[in-house]
Symmetry: C2
Subunit: 341 residues, 2 copies
DNA sequence: ATGAAAGCGCTAACAT
DNA sequence: ATGTTAGCGCTTTCAT
C-alpha cells in the first residue's frame, strides 16, 4: 500500500523559501509587512510544494476568529423542502466564506444529539436546527461557550433562541375554511406525527376553521402519525369505508398529499387541499390547491439571523414568522359528493 | 455584550478531578489502563463542567486517524436528485461516525474550486464529487497527501479516480427507441448544457437510437443549454412553430421535463419521454413514461467505495455503472400527430 | 495505573 | 521587514 506523501507544512515552505515559518504565515494569510520580493519567493515555494494551509490548526490557535464552519441539522435532507432550505443556507454561508456541515435527524432525538455532538466537537461557530421533539439540554454548554443556535421550521422545546417559522396555523385554517366555503362539512385531517410542532399547529388551524363555522371535530375523520406516502394512501382507504365518509381532505404536508393523490378515486373524487406546494400541482386534474411555504426564504432568513449573531448581535432572541401563500387552483372546489351548498 | 464562557479543556477537567490531563484523555477516549474509581471521578468532573472534547485539536495530533469528515460536492443541493444522493451519503457517513461537509458548485468550475479548497483546508479524509467540466489539477496535491476522491454522476475530466455513474447513453437510447417504435420520426431532443457529461451521453443515446432506425438527426429539433424549467418551456414553443414540427419529445432531465409539461398543449399533445422520474409522473394525463435512475443507490455506492478507500483499499480505480430503468406508462405512446404506423 | 515532556501546524506577542 | 518564543487542546512516548 502506497504511503501517502506527507502534507507540506509552513515549515517546509519556509525552508524552501529560505525564510521563517512566521513569514510564510504572513504571506499565506495575506497580512501586510512582508517585502514584495520575499512574498514572491514564498508564493513560489507554495506553488512548487502544492502547499495549502491547515485551517484546523489555524483555528485552534486563533481563538477569537472561530472555525468559519456552521452546522445545519434538518429532519431529512432528502425531503425537497429541507433540500431547498439547505441550499439557501449554503449559499449564504458560501458568500461569507463559511462551510456547512449537514446532518439529518430523522426526527429522532437520539440521532439529533449524536449529530449535534459531532458538530460541536468540531467547534462549529453556529447551528441552524430543525429541532426534534426531544430535550436540548446538551446545547446549553456549547451555547454558553459561544456557539450560536437558530431554530428553523419549528421552535425547540425549552430553547430560548432565535426562531424562524411560518404561520402554520393560519395557513391551515385558511385551507380548511376554503373547503368549508365550498359546502364541505365532512373534512378529514391527515397529518404526520402530532408531536411534531408544525403538525400540531396545522391541526389547530384545522380545528379553528371548523369551530368558526360551528362544525364539530369528528375524531373518526382525524388521522395523525402518517409518516409515509403509502400510509397516507392507506388512511384514505379506511376513511372511505366509514359509514359517513368525508367529502373533503386536508393533507398536512407534501408527502401526505402525494399519498392522497395515489389513493384518489377518479370515479368518486374527494375535494383536496394540501399543505406544501408540489412541482406538478397545476398539471394535475383537477389542479391542486395548496398552502405554499417558501423554504428558500426560511433557510435564507435563518442563515442571516445566525450570521448576525455570529457577528456579535446579542440582543434578545427574535421570533420571525414568514407568511404562507394560499394558491387556489381547483381541487378544493371539486368533489363528487360535495353538497351543492 | 456578554463574554462567552471559555470552553472547558482537559486541563480544567483534570484540575477538577485531581488528575493529570493525560488521564482525562484516556477516560474521555475510552482507553484502557485507568482505575475504575479514577475514571468515575473524571467522568463526574466531565459532567459537572459540561466538558466536550475538541476534536479539531485531537485530529491535529493524531495524524494517522484522520478527521472523520468527508466532503460532498454536488451540482445543486436543491435538486431533489442530488438531495436524495446527499441523504444517502450522509446515512453511510453517520453509520461510520463521520460527518459530511456539503457544497454546491452550480456547475461553475470556480465555485467548485473554492468549495473543495475550503474542504481540503479542513483536512477532510475524502471527497465525493459531482465534478464540473473544469480542470481538477488542484486535487493532485491533496490526493497525493491521502485525501480520497470518488466521482459520482459523472467522471471528472482527467481524474483517475473511482467513478459511479448510470448508463445514461443506453437509457436515453431506450427511451428514444420507444418513441420510434410508436411511429415517431420527428423526435426533438431537449437537453441541458452539452458540456455536462451526462447530457452529452444522453444525446449520444438519442443519436444512437435514430441511427439504428435510419432516421437522420435534424438539427432543428435539437436544443441544448436548457438550464431552467422556463427555458425548456420556451423551447417547446419555438419547436411548435417549425415548418415541420416534432411529434415527439425526449427531455434530458427532470427540470426540462417539467418545462415541457408546462408548455404542453392539451389540444395538440406531443408524445413525451423524459430522463428522471417525477413524484407525480403516474398521476399525470397521460401518465409520464420515463427513464428512471436511483440517486440513493448512486450516493450509497459512492460512499461505500469512498469508505473502502479510506479504509486502505488501494487497488486500481474502479468504474461502477448502475442501470437505469425504463418505466413505460403512457406519454410515449400518445401524441395527436403520431402517425398511425 | 498515572504522569511529564514534547509536539501536531499554526499564529499572537514580542523582539530585533 | 523578519524572526523567536510560546502556546492553542490534544495525544504520543516514555518514564515512574
Amino acid at each position: 500500500m502506497r504511503r501517502p506523501v506527507k502534507r507540506p507544512t509552513m515549515k517546509d515552505v519556509a525552508r524552501a523559501a529560505g525564510v521563517s515559518p512566521m513569514t510564510v504565515s504572513r504571506v499565506v494569510s495575506g497580512e501586510p509587512g512582508v517585502a514584495p520580493s520575499t512574498a514572491a519567493r514564498v508564493e513560489q515555494a507554495v506553488r512548487k510544494l502544492g502547499y495549502q494551509r491547515n485551517d484546523n490548526a489555524r483555528h485552534l490557535r486563533q481563538k477569537n476568529l472561530g472555525t468559519s464552519t456552521i452546522g445545519l441539522v434538518v429532519d431529512d435532507l432528502a425531503n425537497p423542502f429541507y433540500a431547498l432550505m439547505a441550499r439557501s443556507v449554503e449559499d449564504e454561508a458560501h458568500r461569507r466564506g463559511y462551510v456547512v456541515l449537514v446532518g439529518s435527524t430523522n426526527d429522532e432525538p437520539r440521532r439529533e444529539r449524536e449529530v449535534i455532538a459531532a458538530f460541536t466537537a468540531r467547534q462549529v461557530d453556529g447551528l441552524i436546527l430543525v429541532p426534534t421533539n426531544g430535550g436540548h439540554g446538551f446545547l446549553k454548554q456549547p451555547m454558553a461557550a459561544g456557539t450560536r443556535v437558530v431554530c428553523v421550521d419549528r421552535p425547540g422545546k425549552g430553547l430560548d433562541v432565535d426562531t424562524v417559522t411560518v404561520d402554520n396555523r393560519a395557513g391551515a385554517q385558511r385551507a380548511v375554511t376554503h373547503l368549508l366555503g365550498h359546502g364541505h362539512t365532512r373534512i378529514a385531517y391527515l397529518g404526520d406525527r402530532f408531536d411534531i410542532w408544525t403538525q400540531a399547529e396545522r391541526f389547530s388551524g384545522y380545528r379553528d376553521a371548523l369551530a368558526a363555522h360551528g362544525v364539530p371535530v369528528d375524531e373518526d375523520l382525524v388521522r395523525h402519525g402518517l409518516r409515509t406516502r403509502e400510509s397516507a394512501g392507506a388512511a384514505i382507504g379506511s376513511l372511505r369505508e366509514l359509514p359517513d365518509p368525508p367529502t373533503a381532505l386536508f393533507t398536512s404536508n407534501d408527502l401526505i398529499t402525494l399519498g392522497a393523490l395515489d389513493a384518489a378515486d377518479r370515479t368518486a373524487p374527494l375535494a383536496l387541499v394540501g399543505f406544501d406546494d408540489l412541482p406538478l400541482a397545476e398539471r394535475l386534474d383537477p389542479p391542486l390547491t395548496v398552502v405554499s411555504q417558501d423554504p428558500v426564504a426560511l433557510g435564507g432568513t435563518a442563515a442571516n439571523v445566525l450570521f448576525s449573531r455570529i457577528g456579535g448581535d446579542s440582543s434578545a432572541p427574535r421570533s420571525v414568522v414568514l407568511l404562507t401563500r394560499f394558491l387556489v387552483r381547483a381541487s378544493g372546489e371539486s368533489g363528487a359528493r360535495a353538497p351543492g351548498r
